[in-house]
């Protein structure tokens, strides 16, 4: 909560430090004093900063994030419009990431220094280092250009065209999923390795449990804790940080909205978007904490 309040203050301060008069900018050539004053009063920009802040914060808490300077729509509706696309991409990506990371990380932990391990290490190192927008461009070139198998971008809601939805989702989800998956692979490897070396694994073997059972309940079960944390971190990143991939794939998500808001100096939208991301970040942290408590009895009180 303290963090959230802090975030709000910074969001607000940051946005109001932007030089230039946003209303003047929004009106552009259609400028006339009367509209200007009206707009200014409506967005509350004529009031002292502190009052503006509390006004904005109070309304934000009740779900009213103001009105876009550019389009006149409410920020809440703009965000609501973009949210499904962002959520779709983020969850599809994390799915791809886990599908890559869990088997790969586990395999390389089981056979450290083997060929599998070395290949996995090299692949994850590459995945971490590759610029995702570059990978996106290359994939578009190959799959949309040369091969012509998939569309190069865009988004259709699942309800309208499930096939098109899946086709358009595939490439961006793979791009962000590979990057996140590479990060998670390293965590899975090290946490499984650590779990394998634990004393209780020897106890489990010594009581004659089948190997599979030892592995599932005494290794993987214990390696789950760090995995939950990284997955949370990655999900938070995917929900907010994939602006560049959204741009390349013309994916109408929140990142794109935020970038457009920056370019147009559309304060209320930018404020709303950043605030939402911060809330999402904290929310994911909360969920991770809850999951932790569910998984690790030592944390329960």
């Amino acid at each position: 909560m303290v963090v959230l309040a802090g975030v709000s203050v910074i969001v607000f301060a940051l946005v109001h430090l932007v030089p230039g008069d946003p209303i003047r900018l929004a009106l552009g050539t259609r400028f006339d004093q009367e509209t200007y004053d009206a707009l200014r009063a409506r967005s509350g920009l004529d009031q002292p900063l502190v009052e503006q802040f509390f006004g904005w914060f109070g309304r934000a808490v009740s779900g009213d994030l103001g009105v876009s300077f550019r389009s006149g729509e409410t920020v809440t509706s703009l965000i609501a419009e973009r949210l499904p696309a962002t959520l779709t991409l983020a969850f599809a990506s994390i799915l791809v990431a886990l599908l890559i990371a869990v088997p790969l990380g586990t395999l390389s932990a089981l056979r450290p220094r083997s060929v599998v391990d070395r290949v996995a290490t090299v692949l994850s190192q590459i995945g971490i280092s590759v610029p995702e927008f570059w990978m996106a461009i290359v994939l578009i070139l190959v799959f949309a250009g040369t091969l012509g198998w998939l569309p190069s971008g865009g988004y259709v809601p699942l309800t309208e065209d499930p096939g098109g939805w899946a086709q358009r989702l595939l490439l961006p989800a793979v791009v962000t999923g590979v990057v996140s998956g590479s990060v998670i692979t390293r965590f899975v490897r090290s946490s499984v390795l650590e779990a394998l070396g634990a004393d209780h694994v020897r106890t489990a073997q010594a009581k004659g449990l089948p190997t599979r059972q030892v592995f599932t309940w005494h290794v993987l079960r214990n390696a789950l804790l760090p995995l939950v944390t990284v997955t949370g971190v990655q999900l938070a990143y995917l929900l907010s940080g994939v602006v560049v991939v959204e741009i390349v794939f013309s994916w109408p998500g929140l990142g794109q909205l935020a970038l457009q808001a920056v370019q147009a100096r559309d304060y209320p939208v930018l404020q709303g978007a950043i605030l939402l991301f911060a809330v999402v970040f904290l929310l994911i942290n909360l969920v991770v904490d809850l999951l932790y408590t569910a998984i690790d009895p030592r944390i329960r009180r």
């Binding site: 209780h200 489990a204 009581k207 089948p210 059972q213 079960r221 214990n222």
Partner: protein
């Protein structure tokens, strides 16, 4: 399983050798260890850390990582060679054949599973037992090891129990399939004296009731004297002396044993009950000395062969007790009474 009358030993280890791949090169951690454990007999294995005690028992059950460990020799449990077993047969032996208790009760239980679960899975791994029946048996085991309120303990997690209670749980797990051999690796080292005494009593009772053979690894002479029938002294991966408790403790033949027992005043300083500390460090298993393993630290060194030839394990005395030999591997044996 009736007492030692059958003549055939429960466990017969012959020329056990363990080599480990380490970052500093191959290490011979156990070098030709041979011993037997009879039914209902307790053998104490003593020695400094790094003497190969733990590795030698882990090797018996195939609990050393195959990637780094090479085990040779033979170890017959009830006539069946443990070292040549199929993985599945070995799994079946772990539990009903051999139960094992590890040193650190704080880490040898899985922190995220309940006590009950960890007991029940062990019981159910060796036979068709319903969950309810396994749980009933688990509660029975906890009662047997003296855990108060066993029903409630089943639903608790390891961190909710004290160290002594946890070790009782570990022992209960080791006993859950009524093993014919119980191996306890420094099982009471981490516990305080009263708890230790209770656990020793418990094991003693089990041995008397079920005829279980016991290998007790320790560095505590009080435990050795209190619980063991025979003692095996390990140094540098070898048995340097073995015999009945009375023979070894009363008339130690090997200079190392004498050092451990504080029988060599210039060599060692004994603390109450514990093995004494001997100046110097045990030989590095990657680079064992020529000759007797102990000579670099040995204050006696009275024989020219000390530095060139490893002495064999030889009978040094008739022994105080009925025909059981007292043997030592040294050129400088001090047999007979002090």
């Amino acid at each position: 399983m009736t007492a030692s009358a059958t003549g055939e030993p429960l466990l017969e280890v012959e020329d056990l050798r363990v080599r480990l791949r380490t970052p500093r090169g191959p290490a011979s951690v156990v070098n030709g260890l041979s011993y037997t454990v009879g039914r209902g007999e307790t053998v104490a294995v003593v020695g400094e850390s790094g003497s190969g005690k733990s590795v030698s028992v882990l090797a018996l059950l195939g609990l050393l990582p195959a990637r780094v460990a090479t085990v040779t020799g033979s170890a017959r449990l009830d006539g069946e060679d443990l070292l040549g077993m199929s993985p599945e047969r070995l799994r079946q032996v772990r539990g009903p054949g051999v139960g094992m208790v590890f040193q650190d009760p704080m880490t040898s239980l899985n922190p995220v599973l309940t006590i009950g679960r960890q007991l029940v899975e062990g019981i159910r791994a060796h036979g068709e037992v319903s969950k309810a029946e396994a749980r009933r048996r688990a509660a029975g085991l906890l009662t047997e090891v003296g855990l108060p309120d066993p029903e409630r303990a089943l639903d608790r997690y390891p961190h909710e129990l004290s160290g002594g209670m946890r070790q009782r749980v570990v022992i209960a797990i080791a006993l859950s399939n009524s093993p014919s051999l119980l191996i306890a690796d420094e099982a009471t080292t981490a516990l305080d004296v009263t708890v230790q005494a209770q656990i020793l009593d418990l094991v003693e009772k089990l041995r008397a009731d079920h005829g279980t053979g016991v290998i007790w690894i320790t560095h505590d002479l009080g435990v050795v004297a209190g619980i063991a029938d025979r003692v095996l002294v390990m140094y540098g991966g070898r048995c340097v002396e073995d015999g009945t408790v009375d023979d070894v403790l009363e008339r130690p033949a090997h200079p190392y044993t004498r050092g451990l027992l504080g029988a060599l005043p210039d060599l060692a300083t004994a603390d109450e009950g514990d093995l004494a500390t001997i100046p110097g460090t045990p030989p590095a298993p990657t680079d064992p000395p020529d000759g007797c393993v102990f000579w670099p630290r040995c204050p006696v060194r009275s024989d020219p062969r000390c530095e060139t030839e490893q002495p064999p394990l030889q009978v040094v005395g008739t022994g105080l007790s009925e025909g059981l030999p007292h043997r030592a591997a040294t050129w400088c044996a001090e047999g007979g009474a002090r």
